[in-house]
């Protein structure tokens, strides 16, 4: 399916996949007493690559876990493929999950299974295909991620980049409508990281899926993104295309793009209060 350049102009129809495949509205979440996401509102359009960026502790991994319906939120709504995930029954959620693929940061391949068995697992669990067909499909997906011939190896016998590729193969085995990628380039050398970026672009082009990538690798984000969401301390700093992000006047966005540390001006009273554990009034500037 061709990429929709003007999604706002297309009226949604009930029979087709909604133009906005993910809709998040004012999402708030807490871990214990701590507020992690402070009212996130964003949408991801069909067939686009949305990159979620931000520094450590910005809430990007938490947001991804919510998008994958692995966490429950405190307030707000979240629709995936037009379905409000809070209102889904267990069976509806089960059916929705079959349309999602996830490539985890560490691969999350099952260490007791071969690469081929890992990739075939969703097929074994969700289809009635005969084993030969499943093996052929697994080999095809391994071909897509340039791992043909590796199906009989154990995950422990693969390099870091190969594990991530195998995780991609497993994530796309059911031809998902949305592919989530958690830090695909983390811990990889620049050449392998660049090859993975190409792979994401190729998979989107070949399979017409929507891709949501969480990363803090700037080069990777600028290369693959249609739009970028920048998070900071649980809030969205901006959402825009690569050009819009590059031209942003927001100082925090520019700090992130230019790899500049945050302004570390500290209020002496606030700093003293933090050390002694005492509350001190007044606005503390970080």
């Amino acid at each position: 399916m061709a990429k929709n350049k003007n999604p706002e102009q297309t009226a949604p129809t009930p029979d087709k996949v909604p133009d906005k495949v993910i809709e998040v509205d004012n999402l708030v979440t807490h871990y214990g007493e701590r507020e992690i996401l402070k009212g996130i509102t964003l949408d991801v359009r069909e067939n686009e690559i949305m990159v979620i960026m931000g520094g450590s502790g910005s809430g990007k991994s938490t947001l991804l876990r919510h998008l994958m319906a692995l966490e429950t939120h405190t307030s707000g709504t979240m629709k995936i493929l037009g379905k409000d995930i809070e209102k889904l029954t267990a069976m509806e959620m089960f059916n929705l999950r079959k349309k999602l693929g996830v490539a985890f940061q560490g691969g999350a391949l099952f260490s007791s299974m071969t690469v081929g068995e890992n990739i075939m697992l969703p097929l074994c669990e969700h289809t009635d295909l005969d084993p030969t067909t499943m093996e052929i499909m697994a080999r095809m997906k391994l071909e897509v991620v340039s791992l043909a011939g590796f199906e009989n190896l154990m995950p422990a016998e693969l390099s870091g980049g190969m594990v991530k590729r195998a995780a991609f193969a497993r994530a796309i085995i059911m031809d998902p409508k949305i592919l989530f990628c958690d830090e695909p380039s983390a811990g990889l050398d620049p050449v392998v990281a660049s090859a993975l970026d190409e792979l994401i672009l190729d998979m989107r082009a070949a399979m017409g899926m929507t891709v949501v990538v969480v990363t803090h690798e700037l080069d990777s984000a600028l290369k693959i993104a249609d739009r970028i969401t920048i998070l900071d301390k649980g809030l969205i700093l901006m959402i825009g295309t690569v050009d819009e992000v590059k031209k942003s006047k927001n100082q925090r966005v520019q700090n992130l793009l230019n790899r500049m540390p945050e302004d570390d001006t500290i209020d002496p009273d606030e700093y003293l209060g933090r050390l002694t554990g005492e509350e001190i009034g007044g606005d503390a500037t970080l």
Binding site: A108, S111, L121, P122, E125, H126
Partner: protein, 271 residues
């Protein structure tokens, strides 16, 4: 008025006790939910198009049961001989060493076989289960299962639980036989009683109830080992160190639970 040091100490003590109590109750609750959920998937999995894989159950049976046969046989034999030695030594004081078979038969079948098998499986397979699930959790493999639409309880817990419920009683029966045989051989050597005569006497002494007493206990032990292993595995936090701690905790809790349950079972069954 500011609280005194004594009041502070008391408050901290009760706070700690309260927290541990709540955590303990939560773990027991999690275990109960896990058992109910496991039976739900076992019974209704096929109808929901998510059946429990028979292959996984057999794989677990191999790991928990078949591979444990040598060590269970060895330890059961050692226990049998130990009981025979102690029994003969004690009864010799009264000149009643020929009655040692009664003590051996009851002790092996009602107490020692299920106990030693339970402790051994807890150390061997309960720890492995906790470590496996804990490692899967920190490697995001559990998350991967969930997002793939594969229920972790059905995929990981049910095969282990079922294998445990089948293999621990089987190992207990093996342990009964090995313990009695080894004790019989020692009694034969020490007292000159033939093995045939020894087993005739064992058959006269033991009733079916005695055998069921041991097997019934082993079923409860199997349930405890599996649930404690899984609950500890799933609660892992903090990487490899967390897995190590959870594994140790699983073994200690399982063995403690087995011994306490054994005591309660013995008390109830002898009333």
């Amino acid at each position: 008025m500011a609280p005194t040091d004594n009041q502070n100490w008391l408050a901290r003590f009760f706070d700690k006790v309260g927290r541990y109590s709540v955590a303990g109750i939560e773990e027991i609750g999690n275990g109960g939910v896990l058992v109910v959920e496991s039976f739900f998937w076992l019974i209704l999995g096929r109808r929901r198009k998510q059946p429990v894989r028979v292959g996984s159950i057999f794989a677990q049976m191999m790991e928990i049961g078949i591979q444990a046969i040598p060590i269970v046989a060895l330890l059961a034999s050692a226990i049998g001989v130990m009981l025979a030695i102690q029994g003969i030594h004690t009864l010799r004081i009264f000149g009643a060493e020929s009655r040692v078979t009664i003590g051996i038969a009851f002790s092996v079948v009602r107490e020692f076989s299920p106990l030693i098998t339970g402790i051994l499986v807890a150390g061997r397979s309960g720890s492995a289960l906790a470590a496996r699930i804990g490692t899967m959790k920190i490697n995001q493999e559990i998350d991967a299962l969930i997002v793939m639409g594969i229920n972790p309880t059905r995929f990981l817990v049910v095969p282990a639980l079922l294998a445990m419920l089948v293999m621990v009683p089987m190992l207990t029966i093996l342990s009964d036989l090995m313990g009695l045989l080894a004790a019989g051989l020692y009694v034969g050597i020490d007292l000159g009683i033939s093995l045939a005569a020894y087993f005739d006497e064992v058959r006269d002494i033991l009733t079916v109830d005695d055998v069921w007493h041991g097997i019934g206990k082993s079923v409860i032990f199997a349930l405890l080992i599996a649930v404690i292993g899984v609950v500890n595995g799933i609660s892992v936090t903090g990487g490899a160190e967390g897995v190590g701690k959870a594994t140790t905790r699983a073994v200690v809790q399982a063995i403690s639970a087995i011994i306490v349950t054994d005591m309660i079972f013995a008390f109830v069954a002898t009333r």
